[in-house]
């Protein structure tokens, strides 16, 4: 029984990690190519979830909703990039933080205006309902497994995109020397818009996928955004590989901590006390891990910039 529970929690951790990877990949790509810190990335996640829930409710199909979430997040991302973000590339981090903080206020309040304060709900598509048996007894939700599959597919897709395609070559070139690729005739403005929209679409995809597991509401992106920050700090800002490794570390450590710490503490203290203290400590665990990693590698595990 314990083995089955352990496997289930490991898978949950992996699923959280994959979600975080979708968020962190966009953030780290945007930072790596444009040098921009984007706090509003969580709002794009929220937009994806709202678009999916609304369209799925109107059409009755989760899959159309999923496409809508990608389109909505990429579209809003492109609009934001052209209208606001573009002016921030040569500003310092303070201005970027403030402007994107302002965007959060606008987008969150705007979403509340449009959709109201009540959460929306999104059903798991019929195709992915049901459960899969686990070794050692127990069952696991098929939908969560599918999320893990999507995450792996996106990771592979991103790898191929960046290492094998012309766009990926330009993205890599933009990371190392933006003036030079501009001089070689690449339209850097369009490239930036495309990269930003790509990151936004990944965030929107994450939002839509998680929307079927949780309620869809204003502010849902912010906790995920901060976890994604932890991920890219651990992985090294600008590195997609680092984002993947960091995301899995954070997802698994967080989930396993919440699962194991209370039981571990119960060996040394009364059960009720162990539950509360364990829960409180588990909520701090990933930050402790982050601090430890930074103490040895101040620029993360796979730093792209030295």
């Amino acid at each position: 029984m314990f083995t089955a529970l352990l496997i289930e929690q490991l898978l949950n951790g992996l699923q959280l990690g994959v979600m975080l990877f979708l968020m962190a990949a966009g953030l780290t790509l945007i930072f790596g190519v444009m040098g921009l810190i984007n706090l509003a990335h969580g709002s794009l996640y929220m937009i994806g979830a709202f678009a999916c829930a609304t369209v799925a409710a109107a059409t009755g199909s989760f899959w159309i909703g999923l496409i809508a979430s990608l389109a909505a997040a990429a579209g809003v991302g492109a609009i934001i990039e052209v209208a606001v973000i573009r002016r921030l590339y040569d500003r310092d981090h303070l201005d970027q933080v403030l402007a994107t903080f302002a965007l959060i206020l606008i987008l969150s309040e705007g979403a509340r205006w449009l959709f109201g304060s009540f959460p929306l709900y999104l059903d798991i598509p019929p195709l992915l309902q049901g459960a899969v048996p686990l070794p050692g007894g127990g069952q696991y939700q098929l939908y969560r497994l599918a999320i893990i599959g999507v995450g792996v597919a996106v990771a592979v897709g991103l790898y191929l995109l960046i290492s094998r395609t012309r766009l990926g070559m330009r993205i890599r070139a933009g990371e190392s020397d933006r003036e030079m690729i501009g001089a070689l005739g690449v339209d850097i403005g369009t490239l930036y818009t495309v990269v930003f929209a790509l990151g936004a679409a990944l965030a929107g995809l994450a939002g839509a996928l998680v929307g079927a597991l949780q309620s869809v509401q204003v502010g849902m992106g912010e906790p995920v955004l901060i976890l994604a920050f932890v991920v890219i700090v651990i992985g090294g800002i600008g590195s997609i590989k680092g984002a993947l490794v960091g995301a899995v570390i954070v997802g698994v450590v967080d989930t396993m901590g919440r699962f194991l710490l209370p039981s571990l503490l119960a060996l040394t203290m009364p059960a009720s006390q162990a539950t509360t203290i364990g829960a409180a400590l588990a909520s701090m665990l990933i930050y402790v891990v982050m601090a430890l990693i930074l103490a040895f590698r101040p620029s993360g595990l796979f730093s792209a910039q030295s």
């Binding site: 606001v84 302002a102 959060i104 606008i106 901060i226 932890v230 700090v233 101040p298 620029s299």
Partner: protein, 323 residues
């Protein structure tokens, strides 16, 4: 007297005079509003020391603000229930003692956070300070002893010897005095050898190291002092609202403190005061017109960042100041 000094004097007198006038007209609400301005400005003065002088963009100062608040809340709750804190140490409702504790706790927490965060710089520093603040936020939420997600209510305001703190005006005067003291400290630090080193560390850390001063130590001290001032403000804020909750620790609070400084003018002595005045004014006026005031605050903030750099004091006192 430069133009900025005149404006500073006007702001100081305005913040003092307006609530006194309101109190004499029997409008205690406006006194409370002015107290809110004073306390938020105090918190931002703390951050301004790190951000304005030291160039340390801490996105986690809500942690220290909230810690100060929780110190006030926890001490008052224990004192109210006549429970000792731990090891038989009695709790207290005396404001000066609470303040000392809040300042000490904020400083002690800021040292390890600063020591780890300051090993990095730039975006890393922003994200790590944010992450540490979130850590404390989640701890406060999941620790049920002091209210967890619901926070702690104080049954009454804590006591200050010889002052009736329950009345709005005396409490405002306490907060105003605290703000003025912090501004004086900011001025003294800015002009001191330490302040020069701190500003040099912002402009060029390598060059500072080359003349034999380690930027890390200077920054760490500045970060801790900055956290202590913000923690002090947190204790006052808890007493103002007679409530402390996780929202004081949330990252929105950290963002708002930065916003205050930018609205007023970064690195300027009275920047946080001007910023807090504008912020509370917007909150009150826009909040009275529409429930969606944060939407418009976002638009205004975006406009200021994109088009009006230097904040209100930058606009008024004209002289460009590269900070």
């Amino acid at each position: 007297m430069t133009r900025e000094t005149t404006i500073n004097l006007v702001l100081a007198l305005l913040l003092l005079g307006a609530p006194m006038l309101a109190a004499s007209l029997g409008e205690p609400f406006y006194v409370t509003l002015a107290t809110r301005i004073a306390v938020l400005a105090l918190a931002a003065v703390g951050l301004n020391l790190a951000l304005g002088l030291g160039g340390l963009l801490s996105f986690g100062h809500a942690a220290f603000f909230g810690l100060g608040g929780y110190v006030a809340g926890i001490l008052a709750t224990h004192a109210f229930n006549a429970e000792p804190l731990f090891a038989g140490i009695p709790a207290t409702t005396s404001m000066p003692l609470i303040w000392i504790t809040a300042v000490a706790v904020a400083g002690l927490v800021a040292l390890p956070i600063g020591a780890i965060s300051l090993r990095t710089s730039g975006v890393y520093f922003i994200m790590i300070t944010l992450a540490f603040a979130q850590m404390i936020y989640y701890f406060a939420i999941s620790w049920p002893a002091y209210g967890g997600e619901d926070g702690l209510s104080l049954s009454m305001r804590n006591a200050f010897p010889g002052v009736n703190t329950a009345k709005p005006l005396p409490y405002f005067l306490i907060c105003y005095a605290a703000l003025m003291a912090a501004l004086l400290l900011f001025r003294v630090v800015e002009g001191s050898r330490f302040g020069s080193a701190l500003q040099a560390a912002r402009q060029n850390g390598t060059r500072l190291a080359a003349v034999g001063i380690a930027p890390f130590n200077i920054r760490l001290v500045a970060f801790a002092v900055s956290a202590m001032i913000t923690g002090f403000a947190g204790a006052l804020y808890a007493d103002l609202n007679r409530f402390v909750g996780p929202s004081m620790l949330s990252w929105h609070m950290s963002g708002e403190l930065i916003v205050l400084i930018i609205l007023g003018g970064k690195g300027r002595l009275f920047g946080p005061v001007a910023g807090a005045m504008i912020f509370v004014f917007f909150e009150y006026v826009l909040g009275g017109i529409t429930e969606r005031w944060q939407f418009f605050l976002g638009l205004i903030l975006l406009g200021i960042v994109l088009f009006a750099r230097g904040g209100l004091l930058g606009l008024l006192s004209g002289k460009p100041r590269h900070v």
